[in-house]
Amino acid sequence: MQNLEKEITVDSKLENIDTLTEFVEQALEPYNPSPKAVMQICVAIDELFSNVVRYSGSSKMKLILDVNGDVLTATLTFIDEGVEYDPLAKKDPNVKLPAEDREIGGLGIFLVKKTMDGVEYKRDGQQNILKIVKKLT
């Protein structure tokens, strides 16, 4: 299948989570992705975009979607111009703790790290650039 590259820029508002997930779901449809991969990508979008909205101070965020049609892999790149923030630097939560001792934070990025095939962060000038990779099959 053919490769694809699409991008979208949205205001940093939680309401735009759906804008982003719809954008990605529609773009991926022709590749017949597994429902599980789509679901996990949507969760990753929810988690990562929520963090940008809440913590980065950036008024907008750009999402670039690349699909490699040969190996059926999607790469999503999240770019914002907020404060420097590497979500991967957060310590993983201890998933063995009982309910009373579980901390509320850190779950989102942990989920992304566990469900994506690759996660990468870099700071480039004034931009946070976070890339996730997921096989679509």
């Binding site: 759906d18 679901m39 988690e47 009373e100 579980r102 509320i104 779950l107 989102g108 989920l111």
Partner: protein
């Protein structure tokens, strides 16, 4: 997301339909938080729930903590993808999934 809630005596049943995510988790929270007095059995039906993000997990964790003290909470009809999220996050040890 649609929420169907039913209270009969000390049993509260909640069925979710759609997505439990950052935008919709507050809806579930408002149905549960502060409303569990006298409830000893919280039954959740996830048959029509297609995904859950960490915001949803947080609401479930809060509910579980309350129910641990006053009764039980059970989640049924969980799809495979959500079960996997529970496993990855250790929530399968915290929640009662049937």
């Amino acid at each position: 997301m649609q929420i169907k809630k039913n209270v009969e005596g000390s049993v509260m049943s909640i069925a979710l339909e759609g997505r439990l995510d950052t935008m919709t988790a507050p809806l579930l929270e408002s149905e549960i938080q502060g409303k569990l007095d006298g409830i000893t059995d919280l039954q959740m039906d996830f048959e029509k729930l297609v995904y859950i993000s960490s915001a949803g997990l947080r609401v479930l964790l809060s509910a579980q903590k309350v129910m641990n003290k006053q009764g039980k909470m059970v989640i049924k009809n969980v799809c495979a993808e959500i079960k996997e999220i529970f496993e990855v996050t250790g929530f399968s040890d915290i929640l009662t999934v049937v």
